[in-house]
Symmetry: D2
Amino acid sequence: MANNYLGIDDAEFIRGEVPMTKQEIRVLTLAKARIEENDIVWDIGAGTGSISVEAARQADKGKVCAIERNDDGVALIRRNAEKFGIENIETVSGEAPDALENLPAPDVVIIGGSGKRLETILDLISSKLKKGGRIVLNCITVQTLASCLSYMREHKKNYEYEAIQVQVNRLQTVGPYEMAKALNPIYIVTCVKIR
Amino acid sequence: MANNYLGIDDAEFIRGEVPMTKQEIRVLTLAKARIEENDIVWDIGAGTGSISVEAARQADKGKVCAIERNDDGVALIRRNAEKFGIENIETVSGEAPDALENLPAPDVVIIGGSGKRLETILDLISSKLKKGGRIVLNCITVQTLASCLSYMREHKKNYEYEAIQVQVNRLQTVGPYEMAKALNPIYIVTCVKIR
Amino acid sequence: MANNYLGIDDAEFIRGEVPMTKQEIRVLTLAKARIEENDIVWDIGAGTGSISVEAARQADKGKVCAIERNDDGVALIRRNAEKFGIENIETVSGEAPDALENLPAPDVVIIGGSGKRLETILDLISSKLKKGGRIVLNCITVQTLASCLSYMREHKKNYEYEAIQVQVNRLQTVGPYEMAKALNPIYIVTCVKIR
Amino acid sequence: MANNYLGIDDAEFIRGEVPMTKQEIRVLTLAKARIEENDIVWDIGAGTGSISVEAARQADKGKVCAIERNDDGVALIRRNAEKFGIENIETVSGEAPDALENLPAPDVVIIGGSGKRLETILDLISSKLKKGGRIVLNCITVQTLASCLSYMREHKKNYEYEAIQVQVNRLQTVGPYEMAKALNPIYIVTCVKIR
């Protein structure tokens, strides 16, 4: 398919009031996720659907389940899917882990938002995720990062993981100058199910 | 094609002594480059060929010209192309801008190393790059960044550009702890030829 | 003097609309400046006077000349000096380099704002700065950084220099979480006049 | 005292094999600590003694207790104190919290290393620290940061706190260029005992 690159500009998505993962973080998250064309992908806390849209283009013979508890978010995901001509996103209105119970077993799980129930969500995912499958978690809080690392340490028989912190500064043009405008840093934890 | 994701692990490339762009930077660089399947891509200062390999998988009906002045580098690029089964990389032994003269006109130019002749190189690229084409420059020095920004300001009738600085910290496991190991920050300048 | 620490909280300064150097940057700038008690300090582009106030407490037997072209800024500097009971700040209303001509020769020069005339300002400073004296420049733009580095390279018979980039993220409490709020990065260039 | 600035260069300290807090982090840590001239300061995990030396110059009518479990470290602290002519550092060979039991009640506690017993150490400190006193903790691991934040949340009747992450890149001169060399990021948590 032509024009199927990774890294759609932020401005191309319909956004509303819902916070959106920035392009650079979206690209790195999807690169860490290593989605293949037949994959089943869960996008938990899908927000505007920007990650779901890019994931769906990569899994173009598979499917993305976009789980979002906020109704405005669900509507936005549908509008963005439509805008980009994506037909393999299934929106799931509800909250993890309950909303995940009846979904098809995933090859890749992306977690953008987990509320306070990360451990329970990871337990549910672990029971469904295929061997060799990946969980990629974006964290903006110290506590979520620490919980995720703690979970992975306790389950190191089942998972290998790596974590990075990414900070992006955008250079803004102000008259004859460019000056850096900082974006908030984010942690990306990538977990591979080894057994 | 199965398994054609962006974001090959650093460890999968044959490396030698040549410095290699780190995975996260490679992924962001390629995302900014928006390579399409029929594109002609120039990879200037191709080093180990890690960017060329990933670019060649995206331009799978096009071609990547990997320009590298260092002979060990040229050999490495060939070995990496072979390892990943890539047949659409043409290695070009020599230095920009001279080595660029007889190459096919590019859709995308990635500059990983420019020596001291950035302005001359950008002039040559400008004469060949297709309208709508992209130049993505990775800079690790203040001087190269300033030169590139200065060039783009002087040629703003022909180019739109954006620049970011990216810093990645890898969390390393040390006993019961994870501690951040900083990678050097890098600037990525993305230029679109508008006329 | 009791309570004469470096690192007054941002909130303790009277601020108005004038942008203010953040505490962490102010502290590092002053540490790089190595002000001694009898020093004459120039604070060029003094803004709110937050750096002048802390410099004046260090040079408590010397003097700080706070140069500011904006009248609201000059008034703010005076109000902040008064608030902290500082009597050794002389405000200088005007623009560098002209406003510097008749000031006493400095031991330390801090440059927070230079407009577009950095090179001329550095020439003027060089003619007045004592041997062993220091210039500490805060840059937020790529172009000012590049100009300053270029000047120091051209005058390396007279100056040794080092430069750092500093990025601070403040952790903000949001319910049960802390999440990082990024401040814009800044460059600090420290130059020592060796001859 | 002349020449009593904050921010001694790293190279001026005797270092051995013991890891040393970098100058910029040392300066910010000490600024957050707001040491006054009569203060009693505990420096827990004092390492080379670089923080103790600078703290002792600020508390020049008070005292610094430099606690260090490693014998080579204790010897280094003494050598550095001697080098800088400091007489108000008391080295304490041993491990926190046990080694803290018989020390005079502190106004300021700086924690550079806490091993795995941070919570017990904070309990002991809390029983001794004066009202209005400060704890400044340098963390390089996610787990220590999370433990410290968790402790402060549980004791918010007694403490106010703030936390920052600081990342410093040093620009290195390489031929005609400067390129950034990243230092590892560090968290600094500042806690004020309010009751």
